[in-house]
Symmetry: C2
Subunit: 117 residues, 2 copies
DNA sequence: GTAATATATGAACATATATTCATAAAGGAG
DNA sequence: CTCCTTTATGAATATATGTTCATATATTAC
């Protein structure tokens, strides 16, 4: 009573082995997943949109996104760790801006896809 | 004792209003987030990789990803709902394949980004 | 020194998500 | 019809994640 016999072989064992052999390393896939996960939250997308328009401090972002300063700060930390934003200090104020040119291409691809649905 | 005075205005109120006015609709942002969320999981990324190489049935995918058939089936449902995969029936067997040409461009952008870290 | 401001952070909580298990549904073979 | 196979699905569970609250840190002004 095997669960996975699968006689459906439209593909040969050799082909399957070959395909399996060429899959990116588990670590790479994990990193890719982490990368996409960052974009998979509307609060972070809003932050990224606003920063794509203008360098902004945390309080301004909180105003624009209409969310607590603490929430924004937590999300900015995540974005920082993933190198999507950077900041410069000026007194107690931190001015955030985008740190990655790929963000715009990524937005574009996503919009293209969504427009076709 | 306001929490958000923010005198940091490197940006004028008018500019902020303007930027806020042009942000995509909340619904659009929500959809973008959902879209990215789909890619933000290593199991789904593996499935997408394998399907990019060959049309496959559920049991074969379970073998390749080395995960239970049920788990694969649940993930395939999600991928179906987001129109990233499609399938054709042949008897009791379902052959899955990719349903979106953007997937490859998306993979590429992500890899580019990761290689720069 | 104190007071006020901007930001960061830890704990707590609620919600979302991925996986497993058990089982249902549907088709093919006998 | 019954048995077997392939896939889908609902419930349960464990884990991850986003937000809030309270508070810490750091800088500036007085």
């Amino acid at each position: 009573m095997k669960t996975l016999t699968c006689l459906c072989k439209s593909i040969s064992e050799e082909e399957m082995d070959d395909i399996k052999k060429h899959i990116p390393k588990d670590n790479t896939i994990q990193n890719m997943a982490e990368f996409f996960k960052v974009f998979g939250d509307s609060t972070r997308l809003k932050i990224l949109y606003y920063l794509s328009r203008h360098e902004l401090c945390v309080a301004d972002l909180a105003l624009l996104v209409n969310m607590q300063q603490s929430a924004i700060s937590h999300q900015l930390k995540l974005l920082r760790l993933n190198r999507l934003v950077k900041y410069r200090k000026e007194g107690t104020t931190n001015y955030y801006s985008l740190d990655d040119e790929h963000i715009n291409s990524i937005f574009k691809v996503a919009l293209e896809h969504l427009q076709e649905l």
